[in-house]
């Protein structure tokens, strides 16, 4: 112990330096206190050395304080040591617990201290909790292991089955695609057939129409020919009647002419006496001549009419023959066309059926393909998923194993 | 000279010199045929003919001229050398041969020609066809000309008259 203290020793606490430290006993006191403050609790003052009674008292008290402090400190130190030891032990135990995994016992410390009780309780709680936890985990790990095994198995199976399914689906899809393509082709061909049939059908219908109109015009020609025949017959009859009448007139005119001629002859023979007679006769002759001129004209006309009528009749007959021929041809053509039509109709219907069917098929196929694609997608996803699942499952399994291993270390009971 | 009034050729001072004779030339049968001009009284355009039934072929018909009915003589038909076509423009020479008065039809009428008598040569020896009636042949400025003996010709024609009762072709 030093009685002096260096006030210049600055502690890191940066105590303000007084202006002038008291010397003497106060100073001794101060440095003693300082020492105590610094932890030199074992220092004692010789109180008897103090002359100042007050200071003496203080020194005595200081001694007492120091002694008390020292004792306290010692005690504290002792306790701390104890506790520290206890804590160490606890820690050791926990470490052991952790490393060895033995949760079966309770924590027993070789050191007893009330201060350690909460610690022990706390650690005990921790251990209990840990125990529970470990149990749970073990259970979970077990479950997990099982489940993950199952999942793995399932996933593997799923994977393989989905793989198979995927390939099967893919095959189906491929087939369906082919089918789609083929049915597309068929549909197109059917479409072509249908359209060709349509065209032929409409062409045949047009032909049918044309033939029908041709037949009806033959019909008209026939009817016309019949009408013409009737007209010609009527005309011929009339002409004949006219001819008859003309003949009669001619006859009369001729006779008149003769009469007149002979009358003129007689008149001429009679000479002067017969002159008047001759004149009348001449007049009569002129009349008769006029009539005969007219009848000649009429006869010419009749001849012309007869010829025209004959020509018309011939033409009409020709027309009738032609119409009959035309009818026959038309009938034949009609039959052919009907045959074609029914054939085409059948073809057309068949083609349309095919077309529709293939269209339907196509649609269905497309739908199937679509569905298949979707399924494929799903399957692929499933595949991916199941791969993932498998991976996850295997990961899970390995994790579970690790956990189980980990947990295995803990002896729970 | 030619006197159209009387129809007779007049021998005038201005006429042919002594030895020349007037002939009347026609174109018939493709050639020049002439005969005594004195026989000709007139040249006429023929016009439509009246056919006569039972007439010979050299008598194609009759026609009226100045109120007179004249017969037509076709020399071609007479000698069997085709017939002279009778058209509106056909010219004939009215010829007097004794009692006969005929209109000699021609292809063309040339008219009066003067031919020296000594220039008239004997006809060729053939006696067929028209040569039968030739008095001679001559040459003038225009070429050869056959001299017909018209009176003989006409008489010969008459002699070939068709017998009664035959039909004309």
């Amino acid at each position: 112990m030093s009685d002096t203290f260096d006030l210049d020793d600055e502690s890191p606490a940066q105590q303000p330096r007084p202006a002038r430290a008291p010397r003497g006993e106060a100073g001794r006191l101060v440095s003693f206190l300082r020492g105590i403050a610094e932890g030199r609790l074992d220092d004692r003052l010789d109180s008897t050395s103090f002359e100042d009674l007050a200071l003496r008292a203080v020194a005595e008290q200081a001694n007492a304080a120091a002694a008390r402090a020292a004792a306290d400190v010692k005690e504290a130190r002792q306790r701390v040591e104890l506790v520290t030891t206890g804590v160490d032990e606890a820690i050791e135990a926990m470490v052991r617990l952790v490393i060895e995994g033995d949760l079966s016992g309770t924590l027993r410390l070789g050191v007893r201290d009330a201060a350690l009780t909460p610690l022990i309780a706390g650690v005990g709680q921790v251990m209990e909790t840990l125990k529970k936890f470990v149990n749970e985990i073990r259970e979970a790990a077990l479950q997990l292991s099982t489940s993950s095994a199952e999942v793995l198995a399932a996933a593997t199976q799923n994977e393989s089955s989905t793989s198979a399914q995927a390939s099967a689906i893919h095959e189906t899809t491929a087939t369906m695609e082919e089918l789609k393509g083929a049915s597309h082709q068929i549909a197109e061909n059917a479409q072509m057939v249908a359209s060709i049939a349509e065209q032929t059908l409409s062409g045949a219908r047009t032909g049918e129409g044309a033939i029908k109109s041709f037949m009806s015009s033959m019909e008209s020609v026939k009817r016309n020919a019949v009408e013409v025949d009737d007209a010609i017959a009527k005309l011929s009859k009339r002409v004949e009647r006219i001819g008859t009448v003309v003949e009669v007139i001619d006859e009369i005119a001729d006779r008149s002419d003769l009469l007149a001629l002979n009358a003129a002859l007689e008149g001429a023979k009679a000479g002067e006496a017969g002159r008047g007679f001759s004149i009348v006769a001449a007049e009569m002759r002129r009349l008769a001549e006029n009539v005969m001129e007219s009848t000649k004209e009429i006869k010419n006309l009749i001849t012309e009419i007869r010829e025209a009528t004959h020509a018309a009749k011939e033409a009409s007959d020709g027309n009738k023959r032609m119409a009959a021929e035309g009818e026959k041809l038309g009938g034949n053509a009609m039959q052919s066309v009907s045959g074609i039509l029914s054939g085409i109709q059948e073809t057309s219907d068949a083609a349309r059926v095919i077309h529709l069917a293939t269209q339907q098929q196509r649609t269905a196929t497309e739908q199937v393909v679509q569905s298949m694609s979707e399924i494929e997608e799903v399957t692929r996803q499933a595949q991916a998923g199941s791969k993932q699942a498998t991976g996850a499952a295997s990961e899970l399994t390995s994790l579970a194993e690790r956990l189980a291993n980990l947990v295995k270390r803990f002896k729970v009971a | 000279m030619w006197d159209s009034r009387t129809g007779f050729a007049q021998r005038t001072e201005g006429g042919p010199r002594g030895q020349d004779a007037w002939f009347f030339s026609l174109r018939i049968l493709g050639g020049r045929y002439a005969f005594e001009a004195a026989l000709v009284t007139e040249v006429v355009r023929l016009g439509p003919l009246t056919r006569l039934p039972a007439a010979p072929s050299f008598l194609p018909g009759v026609f009226t001229h100045r109120g007179e009915v004249l017969p037509v003589l076709d020399i071609g038909q007479l000698v069997g050398q085709g017939s002279i076509p009778v058209r509106a423009s056909t010219r004939a020479a009215i010829v007097h041969c004794g009692p006969w008065k005929v209109a000699v039809v021609s292809e063309a009428v040339e008219g009066l020609v003067a031919i020296p008598r000594r220039a008239v040569e004997p006809p060729p020896a053939e006696s067929s066809g028209v040569a039968e009636f030739l008095a001679g042949v001559a040459q003038d400025r225009k070429g050869a000309v056959a001299i017909l003996d018209m009176p003989r010709l006409v008489e010969a024609a008459r002699a070939r008259a068709v017998p009664a009762g035959s039909a004309t072709p």
């Binding site: 002859l265 | 056919r51 008259a161 068709v162």
Partner: protein
């Protein structure tokens, strides 16, 4: 009309028109009612185109019909219109069928003696042709 007028019948055979004196004509008849042997078809006048009319004459007491195409009618002409044939023509034509000429409108027309015509026809037809 002068009292010397000649009364004629004008008729047509084929393309030619002829005249004949009325006194020779018995009547004008229709050919249809007449038998073939009484018909005179082919004569010096030519061959008619048709058989419309017949001029009936009497020949040796029998009626003969000359078939003509047309009978134009009676015609009166002045006497001077009836002329004999020109000398040359008369000399060339020996047939009695041709009696002369008639100037009808200044156009000469053959004047036919039909009985002679028929007779000559008959006479010609009777002996066989040489």
């Amino acid at each position: 009309m002068s009292d010397e007028a000649a009364q004629l019948i004008l008729f047509q055979v084929a393309t030619s028109v002829f005249a004949t004196a009325v006194r020779d004509v018995v009547r004008i008849g229709s050919v249809r009612e007449i038998g073939a042997d009484e018909l005179v078809l082919d004569s010096a006048l030519g061959r008619p185109y048709s058989r419309e009319r017949g001029i009936v004459v009497t020949l040796d007491g029998a009626e003969r019909t000359l078939v003509v195409d047309r009978v134009l009618g009676t015609r009166s002409v002045p006497a001077h219109a009836v002329q004999p044939l020109p000398a040359f023509a008369a000399a060339c034509i020996r047939s009695g069928a041709l009696a002369g000429l008639v100037l009808v409108d200044d156009v000469p027309m053959p004047l036919v003696d039909i009985p002679n015509l028929v007779r000559e026809r008959v006479d010609r037809a009777a002996p066989p042709p040489p």
